[in-house]
Symmetry: C2
Subunit: 472 residues, 2 copies
C-alpha cells in the first residue's frame, strides 16, 4: 500500500467511521452470534499474496462487524463503560501515526513530559493531594498489582525482589467482600497467596465495615502474620459502593498498613466538587487508581495511577541494562520504571485532546448529567410496584430486580430475573449485565456511555417493563 | 464536538497523517529537546472551557511534535524498531472507533475469534508446533512474566497462588548473561528473587553455553533448590545472539525444567523458511513469545504469546466473579484469563489487516530485504580499516565500533565511540543506540524499519564515516 493509497483509504475510512458513529443506534448493541460462528468464516491459512484493501474492508463489514458488541452504543448499560469520544478518537489516530514507543524519556521526550503534565492536571481535577505523582498504565488490574508489589517491597525492605519470600515472613492483604477480582489476582501474582487475602464484611450499603477491618488486622498480627495492605474501593464493580476512606485510612495509619484506593470507575466523578467527599481522608492513602478509559471519554486503555512516594515505586520496578542507559539519567521520568511492561504507547495525547476539547466544565456537565439520569431511573424503580432497588445509587449504576408481589421465593425470583436479562439483551436494543448481592440475582444498569440521553434511558425503562410483563 | 465536526476534523487529520508519513524524512529522527523544555510550554492547569480543535492541533504541531522521536523514520536504527504500516494504521483507526473492550468472548465475540484465528495463522507462519495456542498480550515483558508465573504454579501444584511461598520451596530461573532485563523484572515480581536468577555464561557469539547451563542446574538441585525454568533467547537485545535451543531443550527435558523462548524481535524472521533453524527443538519448549509490533509492521502494542498447554496458563490467571459469568462458559476463549490485565483492546484486527494486505509473500520479501541490507552493511564494516564488527550478524542488527589502528587502549576507544554516537545522533539524520559487549562500548545499528531502503543505509554509512573522521 503506497502513501497515496493510504491517503485514499484513510479518507474512505473516516467516512465509514463517521457513518458508524452517526448510525450506531441501528446496530444491535450486543452481538447475538453463536460461539464458532465468526471463526468458521475466517480462512484457516494466511494468504500468500497481498489482498486489496476493499476486500479486507468488505470482510470486516460482513464477517467481523456482526460479531461485535457495540461499546459506543448509547444503550450500552453493561459492565462499566469503556467510553470513547471524538477528540479521543482523533488523538488515537495521531498516536498510531507517530507510532512512538515511549518506554523512556529519550525515546520521545514530549510523550514523557505531556504524561507528567496530564497527571498533574488530573491530580488537580480530582482533588488528589498536590504532591502526589502519576503515571499512565494499561488497566486498573495492573495498577493494583503495582501497588501491592510496591507495598511488598517497602515492607520487606526490598528483600522479596532480591531474595524472594523468607519464611515466616507472611503478608496479609485486606479488601471488602465486594472488591474487584483483580485484587485476588494481584495477591496471587505477587506470591502472597489468596489464602492471605482477607475479605472484610460489608454493611447494608455494601461498603467495607471498618469495625470488622481492625479486628482482622489485630488477629493476623497476633498470629505472627504481617498485615501489609488494605485495598479500599470507591465505587465497587457490583454496586458502586463506597468504602469509608476516613475510617479505613485511620486504621491503616494506626497499624502501619499500606493503603491502595481503587476508584477505577468512580474516580471520574471526583471531577464534580460535590463528589469529593468520596476521597475524604485520601492523605492517609499511598496509592490511588482511576480509569479515564471508563467514564472520562478517553479510549481504552488509559489508567491513571497515582502514588504518594514515587521513589519506592521506582525502586520496586527499576531495571537499567546498558542498552537503556541515557545521558539524561534520573533528571527525567523514565516511565518504564513506573510499572510492569517496558514498552509503552503514547497515551497522554488522548487525555490532552479530551480534557482540552471538553474543558473541565464540559466534562463535569456530562458526568453530572449521567448521574442525574441514573437518579431519575432509580426513582422510576422506587415508584414501581414490580421492581425493587437492591443497593443505594450514589452515582450512575442502578442495581435492581423484577419482583412481582406474588413471587416470594428468592430462587424463583432469581430465575425470573435471569430469564428477564436474557430476554432484554436478546432484543439487541439495550445491554445490561448482572451481579449477585446477598444471594439475589441483580440487574446492573449503568448510565454512563458518552452519548446516553434521557431518550435512551426512557426507552430502556419501557423495554425492561415490557419484557418483564411477557415473562409472567 | 458534533459527529459532523468529527467527520471534518478527521478528514483534515488524515491529510496531516499522510503528509507526515510522506515527509517523515524531513524531521530529525531523534528529538533534540532538553529535559523540561516541553512541559514548560504546557499550562499548569486544565482549561475550564472547551477549546477548538484547530487550537489543540496547532499546539500539537508546535509543542509536541518537536519533542517526538520519530520511530517511523526509515533512519530509525536504534533499539529495536516499533514498526507501523499503512494497513496497521487503518486497523488502529477502526479499533479506536469501535472502542470495544475485549476482556471476554461475550464483550465482543468477533474480537475473541479473530484473535484465535490470527494466533493460528502465526503458528503456521512461524513454524511453531501446530497444537499450540496463542494470545495477544501487550509486551514481551508481560508475556515472559506470564510464563514464569505459569511455571511457578505448575511446579508448586498451584500452591503459591493459594498459600504463597512456603520455605524451603526455593525456585531458580536460568537465562544467559545477554538476556533481556525483563527476565530479572519478572523473577522479582513473581516473588522468586533476583538472587535466584542464574545468568549462564555465553560463547564467543554471545549465545548461552549449554555446557554451563547443566552444571548450574545440578548445583542448585544439590543445594536443595528447585530449578524451575530456563529462558532461552532467540535474538538477544544486545546483539541478536541465538541461544542453542536443541541443546537447551534437551537439558530442560532431562531435568524437568520449564522452557520459555523469548524471540521478541527475531521471531518475525521465522516467516522465512531459511530462518526456521533458529527454533529447531521448539517442541521441548513450553512457551514462546514474539512481537509483531517490533518487526512485523503492526503497531505497538501487539505481542504474540504462545503456549503448549493452555489449561495451566488459564488455571494460573483464572478469576470468575459473578459479574463476569456468561452463558457460554468454557466453550469459548475468555482471554482475560490468559494474562495479567482484565481489560483488552481489539488488537487482532491490525494483525489481520497487515497479514492480508502484504500477504505472506510480501512480508517475507520485506524481512528478507532488511536482512540483506544488514549483511551488506556488515560487509562494509568488515572491509573498512577503521571500523570493526563486535558480534556475528545473524539477522539485521550490526554491532560495531570505530577503531582506528593507532588507538589501542579499550577505554580510549570506548570514549571515542561514546562521542561518535552522540555526534551521529545530534545530526538528527539517523538514530543509533549502544550496548556493551565484553566491556566494549558497542554501536547498535538495526536495519528493520518498515520503509528503510538501500539509500538510507548507504547514507547512514557515509554519515557514520564522516562523523568518525571529524573525531580524530
Amino acid at each position: 500500500m503506497t502513501p497515496q493509497d493510504f491517503r485514499k483509504h484513510a479518507h474512505e475510512l473516516v467516512d465509514w467511521m463517521a457513518d458508524y458513529l452517526e448510525n450506531i443506534e441501528k446496530y444491535p448493541v450486543k452481538s447475538s452470534v453463536q460461539p464458532g460462528e465468526i471463526i468458521d468464516r475466517l480462512p484457516e491459512d494466511a494468504p500468500v499474496g497481498g489482498e486489496p484493501f476493499a476486500q479486507i474492508m468488505a470482510d470486516f463489514e460482513n464477517i467481523i462487524l456482526p460479531g461485535m458488541t457495540h461499546w459506543q452504543h448509547p444503550n450500552f448499560h453493561a459492565y462499566f463503560p469503556a467510553n470513547s469520544s471524538p477528540p479521543s478518537l482523533l488523538a488515537e489516530m495521531l498516536t498510531a501515526t507517530l507510532g512512538a514507543q515511549c518506554m523512556i524519556w529519550q525515546t520521545s521526550p514530549a510523550a514523557a513530559e505531556l504524561e507528567e503534565r496530564m497527571m498533574q492536571w488530573l491530580i488537580k481535577m480530582t482533588g488528589l493531594p498536590a504532591n502526589w505523582h502519576g503515571v499512565i498504565q494499561d488497566t486498573a488490574s495492573t495498577a493494583t498489582l503495582s501497588s501491592i508489589l510496591t507495598a511488598r517491597e517497602k515492607f520487606s525492605d526490598f528483600a522479596v525482589n532480591r531474595r524472594g519470600f523468607v519464611d515466616p515472613q507472611r503478608f496479609t492483604v485486606y479488601c471488602s467482600e465486594q472488591t474487584h477480582s483483580s485484587i485476588e489476582k494481584a495477591v496471587k501474582i505477587a506470591g502472597i497467596g489468596s489464602e492471605y487475602l482477607r475479605q472484610i464484611p460489608v454493611d447494608e450499603a455494601f461498603a467495607m465495615r471498618p469495625d470488622a477491618l481492625e479486628p482482622a488486622i489485630l488477629r493476623d498480627r497476633e498470629n505472627g502474620l504481617i498485615p501489609l495492605c488494605v485495598v479500599a474501593t470507591i465505587g465497587t464493580t457490583g454496586s458502586t459502593a463506597i468504602d469509608p476512606l476516613p475510617a479505613i485510612g485511620e486504621i491503616c495509619q494506626k497499624h502501619n498498613l499500606w493503603l491502595h484506593v481503587d476508584a477505577a470507575f468512580a474516580g471520574t466523578a471526583l471531577l464534580l466538587p460535590e463528589k469529593r467527599w468520596m476521597i475524604d481522608g485520601i492523605a492517609h492513602a499511598d496509592t490511588f487508581v482511576f480509569n479515564p478509559h471508563k467514564w472520562m471519554f478517553t479510549n481504552f486503555d488509559c489508567t491513571a495511577y497515582f502514588v504518594k512516594d514515587k521513589t519506592t515505586l521506582i525502586r520496586t520496578f527499576e531495571i537499567l541494562p546498558e542498552y537503556l542507559k541515557t545521558a539524561e539519567g534520573s533528571r527525567v521520568n523514565n516511565y518504564r520504571d513506573w510499572g510492569i511492561p517496558l514498552g509503552r504507547r503514547f497515551r497522554a495525547l488522548k487525555l490532552w485532546f479530551v480534557i482540552r476539547s471538553y474543558g473541565m466544565q464540559g466534562l463535569r456537565e456530562k458526568i453530572a448529567a449521567h448521574i442525574a439520569l441514573a437518579q431519575q431511573f432509580a426513582g422510576w424503580i422506587r415508584e414501581s410496584n414490580d421492581f425493587e432497588l437492591l443497593a443505594p445509587v450514589p452515582l450512575n449504576l442502578i442495581c435492581f430486580h423484577f419482583k412481582p408481589k406474588d413471587f416470594k421465593d428468592v430462587e424463583t425470583v432469581n430465575r425470573l430475573n435471569e430469564r428477564l436479562l436474557t430476554k432484554i439483551n436478546a432484543t439487541g436494543k439495550i445491554y445490561l449485565t448482572h451481579t449477585k448481592l446477598n444471594g439475589i440475582f441483580t440487574l446492573r444498569m449503568v448510565i454512563g456511555q458518552t452519548n446516553v440521553t434521557l431518550r435512551h434511558v426512557e426507552n430502556a425503562w419501557k423495554l425492561i417493563q415490557q419484557a418483564a410483563k411477557t415473562l409472567r
